[in-house]
Symmetry: C2
Amino acid sequence: MTVQSTGGGRRAISAAAVPDLVSKAREGDPRSVGRLVSLVEDESPLLPELMRLLAPHTGGARIVGLTGAPGVGKSTSTNALIGELRRRGQRVAVLAVDPSSPFSGGALLGDRIRMGDHVLDPGVFIRSMAARGHLGGLAWTTPQALRVLDAAGFDVVLVETVGVGQSEVEVAGQADTTIVLLAPGMGDGIQAAKAGILEIGDLYVVNKSDRDGADRVRRDLRAMLGLAERRDDAWRPPVLGTAASTGAGVPDVVDAIEQHGEWLRTSGELHRRRVRRAREEIETLALTALRRRWGSVDDGDRLDELAAAVVAGTEDPYTAAERLL
Amino acid sequence: MTVQSTGGGRRAISAAAVPDLVSKAREGDPRSVGRLVSLVEDESPLLPELMRLLAPHTGGARIVGLTGAPGVGKSTSTNALIGELRRRGQRVAVLAVDPSSPFSGGALLGDRIRMGDHVLDPGVFIRSMAARGHLGGLAWTTPQALRVLDAAGFDVVLVETVGVGQSEVEVAGQADTTIVLLAPGMGDGIQAAKAGILEIGDLYVVNKSDRDGADRVRRDLRAMLGLAERRDDAWRPPVLGTAASTGAGVPDVVDAIEQHGEWLRTSGELHRRRVRRAREEIETLALTALRRRWGSVDDGDRLDELAAAVVAGTEDPYTAAERLL
């Protein structure tokens, strides 16, 4: 396993070095993979070139999102899932995104150390990433980091994020399969009913299922999911139970991931989801490029001029917007 | 006073009727003002034309934002401020924006009825507006509704919003002068320290200052504000006390609004704030127009095509974004 975090002493990467890093990353060199993820995290100007080089090699990985409130056992579950996937011969990358922090490393690095089971396994790559991007945050950097890991040939990429507000919905938007993790004794009904949680999961896993109340959480969740109207051919999210610390129930979760993957492919939903994601990514990049252009010295003056005309009442904002475009 | 709310039985307005409505609104006809605000709220396709007609008549009103947590007495304070401004001969419009609700009318209409002191006064116009806009919400519709009220010749436009999350910061961004309203017994220190509240106020008003703990809130607030580094010529936000239900302290608040207005003008900050706002508005309209274009039938196909190429790996997202632009 390679555990990587960011910050301190990162070496600058030259444009000329990028093709070589891509080759090495594709051969499985974890240092090169890590340096490419750093380029994404740093919003490097080399990203367009990097993405161009990666494009032909993407699309092979299964992207699995894992989200849940603090305390449900995300790290332990990730660790257990890695173990089971490795037993099935899959190469696994984990991208732990911390949407609440402008820094990475800290708490998440601590989490990663708890995943120490896989320290000596070259088939596992674990990386924390801060969603510090000022140009769109999670929405902007996560898909590009996933593209690096995808092109590096991992069979499964787990995106782990703490379920805080909007971030879990965003992560679900990036994944082929989204696992929502819950646990008993955490406000049960309330956490399940939390806005959006019932819409984003492809799989629901109640961890710590050896504890009191786990059955109740599963039952309540099934009842609530049952209320949703679904087409006959729609995926019906299963509600599973695990005790990630002992590994109980984990093979069933991996089976369910595979079943959902099979359904995604045969139903055409995989392609639809990926096209939708690519649409959003292209749109975000285009809008970011525009804002950057408008905020640059030349066009910044132009925008200031238009704004001054609007303030003076000689121009209205719609006409000004049209002129800007 | 004219109290207006939205929904139910709104008549369609034709393009030909807009110039007439603008003339009547400028003559002080409250029905016409209300119908123009409805055009904004409905995101009418007539807005570009409306804004073009209004542009030469804007810039005269003083925009005053009023924000605070539920229960601090926003409606009572608004009512008291209207009374004092009327005594000074000012025409006053109130735009109550409810950022938490996709509907207007309900709770806010109830609030408006409590402002009944001004029912018979033609110099007062009160309107609730929902921030339901799916194309940017508050940020998109509020400046345009304010432009209607500004062009209609009101001397002061109060924008009232409940302080929930991001909305108060957004409202502060729309106003020339932002009043942050607090009250004792509401978690005092905590509410003052709430992210952002110390940065957005030009005036702080502790309402219910006849109650226990009001002095403490004012003292704590002054101490916290005193910690901020400010340039010598910067505005130093005063901390005032009112009992809006009796009117005590309200003339001091209006005096402070006027002093801040004077400072804004002489320091050049008024122009800077308005240009900044116009920049943001133009940018938002331009980006909205682009997204609409991309989402339209013709360009929607183009975006889908590009997204499919990215999924297939024959195109990278940056090149796709460039092609889209």
